[in-house]
């Protein structure tokens, strides 16, 4: 079945350092979403990217969708302790079943104050 590979699995940073997580697919994606799950919490939707090469920003977070629509990244500038959590990408393949989001395995971010 279709898979979305997400790396790294873990990232430990010092507060103030930058952080990036990447998602890759072998098939063309219809769209990609990003979610954040705080420790002990539930995944919360952050953003959706639809267009080839799309870049969106939310304060210190920058999201990119690759030109070929097969990869995406989430970059956090100057991390803060409130950024701690697991970041998931989730994608729908072109021609995929409606509602069938494939989640990456997540990147767990820890931030040392």
């Amino acid at each position: 079945g279709q898979q979305v590979m997400q790396i790294p699995q873990y990232q430990h940073v010092q507060e103030g350092e930058d952080f990036t997580t990447y998602c890759n697919s072998s098939t063309t994606l219809s769209n990609i979403q990003w979610y954040k799950q705080r420790p002990g919490g539930h995944p919360v939707f952050l953003i959706q990217l639809v267009k080839s090469g799309e870049v969106k920003k939310q304060k210190r977070l920058t999201f990119q969708f690759g030109e070929a629509k097969k990869n995406s990244s989430l970059h956090i500038t100057a991390t803060q302790t409130t950024d701690v959590g697991t970041y998931f990408c989730a994608a729908t393949a072109v021609g995929g079943s409606q509602g069938n989001l494939i989640f990456g395995k997540g990147t767990k971010l820890s931030v040392k104050p």
Binding site: H42, P43, F88, A90, Q98, G99, N100
Partner: protein
């Protein structure tokens, strides 16, 4: 008001028992889901219902049976619980083609 609510929040039970988890959404969404998140935090879709009809049924044991009495509710019944069923189960809902998932707070199931 909680948008997607599921009960119970915690469930501790013995192997072999049957249990149910309930989910309700007040967002007016037409699609509801059950996900399983294992100890490694891997999120995997189990079922998806659109307007009370099953549209996705991933490879899960038939001990798991979803039931949607109306489009605002999706319950999950599990028969003959096994140790490997221990996980956090998330209910979610979405509307239309965008597929943006709104998750409930999760039910942490521990099978002893």
């Amino acid at each position: 008001d909680t948008a997607v609510s599921q009960t119970p929040k915690y469930l501790v039970t013995q192997m072999g028992n049957d249990k149910s988890i309930k989910c309700e959404q007040n967002l007016g969404h037409d699609t509801m889901y059950w996900y399983k998140q294992d100890s490694k935090k891997f999120l995997k879709i189990m079922f998806s219902y659109n307007n009370k009809e099953l549209i996705i049924n991933e490879t899960v044991p038939n001990r798991f049976s979803p039931k949607s009495p109306d489009k605002a509710h999706l319950n999950l019944h599990i028969n003959s619980l096994e140790l490997g069923d221990s996980a956090v189960y998330f209910c979610a809902s979405s509307q239309g083609n965008k597929n943006i998932q709104y998750f409930g707070a999760g039910t942490r199931l521990s099978v002893l």
